[in-house]
């Protein structure tokens, strides 16, 4: 491994200076770029691209054919869906942007990366994080927040690798650059690095169980206790932070770095400069100023305050035009070169990728309009939207870049242009099959949920009816996904064969450029156009109104970064502080009490199994929802929910009023095998919960943790008290199950805790204010016997709305 210093020779040669137009005496330096690190990231992109899409196809098959998980809990949809999303975002797209950044930054800055050691630490650290995700998520080790599932030790590692290795290396490179002007792609990279750091840190603030054990309970944490934590935020605030993060992760992990990629690699591939550099600057600032506000559109009609939701909608709609400005800028870069698109598959990938960007950035604002969202939310429409973006925009831009890089990195002609072209067509057909089928599925289900018959009853009261209808579309999705996977395999083969034809020794070009001098001239201030004003006004006109300041910024990475951080942080604070501090946002409800110790550990099982991936816990104040599920959800109901579990997709019914609807025994049998209760159910089996023992000993730590986060647990925090309470409640429930004709000896099994939690959800609101928190929350007998309600989680008969 070599360092940049070792590969840089300092030369003072007066002879070459005049022809390069430099002042005599300036230091001219020689350097070579580090392309090995780019090769490594390109390889990782292809491998993880295959893993992520294969995982996607697998869970897609599970939705159409639930037995595909072979009855193994590690393969259940709830556990593997986070693995798929994390692999697609952080492994596939992540490695792709790193390849793009390492290749383009060196060339735009005319310097080797600041440190080869940091480059390698970044590469291997990131791969280790991805592997650790694969080793934790299938085992139910999760924080239970979408795209932020990884537990706290991995979160810490991400922070170190992202900022400590990648960030320092990138900013170090900017510091030693030899090109004064920072090209717009570099701005997008700067925004990516600083904003993702802010998002990651603040959304993942959590209290680890291990810390509680060490500090409060006094036990040395056991194995899995090292890997459990709870967010410091609860309920509405947690939801708000999560979607502030979730939406901006899309903005600053899947959009800004890919725009940097587009602004560098598209001009390279088209051999033309970007259509409008001005437009690219507008594009950049629009993302920084506007995107950061749009997160609350993920929470329309939920218990989030209405002002936040409306604000998110307004900013989302505003995003449409600048995003399309960016799309047009990308496409118009091909002006005068469209004839090349017909013969060059690389440009085809770029054109279709950028077109998908345009489609996604039109669809996003449309979905953020409340009335559209009331239909689309919780349906597959959202899934189609994100796959248009991920497969079309992120995927195709990555493929275009990789094909452009392969001959340059391996210094051999691409093995097969024809195979590359086939990849393009196969993948395009794959995406279209995927998104068209899933759009149809989403709109179908959304319309079925809200359909009433002539008599004013729900037309499809049984939830499972609305799921079974989607199965044919799910199979089409599987075919589309498979085609996309086949395309990646083709690319891998093409890359492998190109690599085989590489020379014995890679040739490295030696470049030469003068070092930047500390002192430099920003050029004269423009002439003021004011004549009769005071000097200060003239100064203002010259400096600010005529854009001079922006040119200065573009040469000052530190100042530029500070302003980006200031814009992002200010926007975030203006949005977050009122959410946390306006009291009327979360009116407290006197009857809402903390979960009992047993319910609390049951809730952790619910989170660990990833139930939120299919079940929401948020009834919107829409007529068809209150008819189907019951009283709409109130902000005050979630004040003890660390983390919130509102969900974003209903593959199964909402569970916000699940408590007390069914008997304890019904839940046990349903978890053991949902198809015993409802033959059409797509839910995985959870039979393992009936045999695995509940870890009562960890319960005290869990209760202590909640108490440390401000949940009023009273006597339950006394040493051993929580465990005693949990055992007592578990035995009571086990006895009830036996009385209901169910299995015996479940009192020490995990299923008891989960059922205790399920029976508690959403029941407090109908209790008197002074009800004891540990009171049995559910009736001993089934609340509803009719089989229709089995899968529906509440059918047409249970109207409980009081809108």
């Amino acid at each position: 491994m070599s360092t940049s210093a070792a590969r840089t020779d300092v030369v003072r040669t007066a002879a070459i200076e005049p022809q390069l137009g430099r002042r005599p005496g300036s230091v001219v330096e020689r350097f070579v770029y580090d392309d090995q690190i780019v090769r490594m990231f390109v390889l990782a992109t292809m491998i993880w691209g295959l893993v992520a899409t294969l995982a996607g196809v697998f869970i897609g098959v599970e939705l159409a054919f639930p037995k595909a998980n072979l009855g193994l809990e590690w393969f259940s949809f709830g556990r593997l869906r986070p693995l798929h999303t994390n692999a697609a975002i952080f492994a596939f797209a992540g490695n792709s942007i790193f390849a793009a950044i390492y290749y383009s930054t060196q060339r735009l800055c005319k310097t080797r990366m600041y440190s080869d050691v940091l480059s390698r630490l970044h590469f291997w650290g990131w791969q280790a994080i991805i592997v650790s995700a694969a080793l934790t998520l299938p085992f139910g080790i999760t924080q239970g927040k979408e795209y932020a599932e990884l537990e706290w030790p991995i979160d810490l590692a991400i922070a170190v690798v992202w900022l400590g290795f990648f960030g320092v290396n990138f900013f170090g490179t900017l510091a030693v650059r030899r090109e004064r002007h920072m090209y717009v792609a570099l701005w997008f990279y700067i925004a990516t690095i600083v904003t993702v750091t802010i998002l990651h840190v603040f959304n993942n603030l959590s209290l680890p169980l291990a810390v509680v054990e060490l500090v409060k309970t006094g036990h040395w944490p056991r194995g899995e206790e090292w890997m459990k934590s709870w967010p410091v935020y609860a309920g509405v605030q947690d939801a708000f932070m999560q979607w502030w993060y979730g939406h901006n992760a899309v903005a600053f992990f899947l959009t800004t770095p890919f725009l940097g990629l587009m602004y560098y690699f598209m001009p390279k591939a088209a051999e033309r400069p970007v259509y409008s550099y001005r437009l690219s600057i507008v594009h950049f600032w629009s993302l920084v100023f506007i995107y950061i506000w749009a997160g609350p559109h993920h929470l329309h009609y939920t218990a989030l305050p209405g002002w936040a939701s409306s604000l998110g909608m307004v900013f989302s709609v505003m995003l449409w035009m600048p995003s399309w400005g960016g799309m047009i800028n990308g496409l118009m870069t091909l002006r005068g070169a469209w004839h090349k698109v017909t013969s060059d598959p690389i440009l085809k990938f770029f054109v279709v990728g950028v077109t998908f960007y345009g489609m996604s950035t039109f669809e996003g604002p449309m979905l953020s309009v409340k009335s559209v969202n009331s239909l689309s939310h919780y349906t597959d429409w959202t899934i189609a939207h994100v796959h248009g973006g991920a497969l079309g925009w992120n995927g195709f831009l990555s493929f275009g870049m990789i094909y452009w890089l392969l001959p340059r990195l391996f210094q051999a002609p691409l093995y097969s242009k024809r195979l590359m072209s086939t990849h393009f067509y196969v993948a395009t057909v794959g995406i279209l099959l995927y998104v068209l089928a899933i759009y149809t599925a989403g709109i179908t289900q959304g319309l079925m949920w809200r359909a009433f018959d002539e008599s004013g009853r729900l037309q499809y009261p049984d939830f499972v009816e609305t799921v079974v209808r989607l199965v044919p579309f799910y199979w089409i999705r599987v075919v589309g996904g498979l085609l996309y996977v086949v395309g990646i395999v083709m690319m891998g083969y093409n890359a492998f064969m190109t690599w085989r034809a590489r020379p014995e020794t890679y040739v490295e070009e030696v470049h030469e450029a003068p070092a930047l001098e500390r002192e430099y001239d920003d050029g004269p201030l423009p002439e003021t156009r004011l004549t009769a004003n005071i000097d200060a006004a003239k100064q203002w006109d010259s400096k600010y109104l005529q854009g001079w300041f922006h040119r200065v910024w573009e040469r000052k990475p530190l100042k530029f970064t500070v302003w980006v951080v200031a814009a992002v942080a200010t926007a975030s604070l203006f949005e977050i502080i009122p959410t946390f501090l306006i009291r009327s946002n979360v009116p407290t409800i006197a009857s809402v009490k903390p979960y009992t110790p047993l319910e609390l550990v049951g809730r952790d099982i619910y989170v660990g199994e990833g139930c939120y991936n299919c079940h929401s816990q948020m009834i919107r104040p829409l007529w068809h929802e209150t008819v189907r599920y019951g009283e709409y959800s109130k902000p005050g109901e979630f004040v003890y929910d660390h983390p919130f579990q509102w969900g974003s997709r209903r593959i199964g019914p909402d569970l916000a009023r699940e408590g007390g609807r069914q008997s304890f025994d019904w839940h046990v049998r349903h978890l053991e095998n949902p198809r015993n209760i409802n033959g059409q159910s797509l839910m995985p089996t959870y039979a393992h919960l009936l045999t695995e023992k509940l870890d009562f000993e960890s319960i005290q730590g869990r209760v202590d943790a909640m108490a440390m986060l401000g949940v009023p647990y009273g006597d339950a925090v006394k040493p051993g008290e929580a465990v005693k309470m949990a055992r007592k409640q578990a035995m009571e429930i086990a006895d009830t199950i036996v009385k209901q004709g169910g299995y015996a000896d479940l009192g020490d099994k995990k299923v008891i805790a989960l059922v205790a939690y399920l029976q508690r959800i959403g029941t407090d609101i109908s209790k008197p204010a002074d009800a004891a928190p540990a009171a049995p929350a559910a009736p001993a007998t089934p609340a509803a016997e009719e089989p229709k309600k089995a899968e529906a989680g509440g059918a047409g008969g249970s109207v409980a709305s009081t809108r």
Binding site: R30, K268, R278, V282, V510, H511, P526, G547
Partner: protein, 63 residues
């Protein structure tokens, strides 16, 4: 009285609205200045940066 209680009693609901106006105004001013007040040559020079691969003076090899 705790700080959070004091803050809680302030009516902060106008914050986001005020911020909306401020952010939109700043963004609009960036756009206006950019289009009205930057030189064409400068923009073209910046746009050509990725296409410049000047200064290649030799070659070396690596395994």
């Amino acid at each position: 009285m705790r700080l959070s209680e004091i803050m809680g009693r302030l009516d902060l609901a106008f914050w986001p609205q005020a911020a909306l106006v401020i952010f939109l105004a700043v963004f609009a001013s960036v756009v206006w200045r950019l289009y009205a007040r930057t030189s064409r040559e400068e923009m073209e020079r910046a746009g050509r940066l990725p296409l410049e691969e000047e200064g290649v003076v030799g070659r070396t090899g690596t395994k």
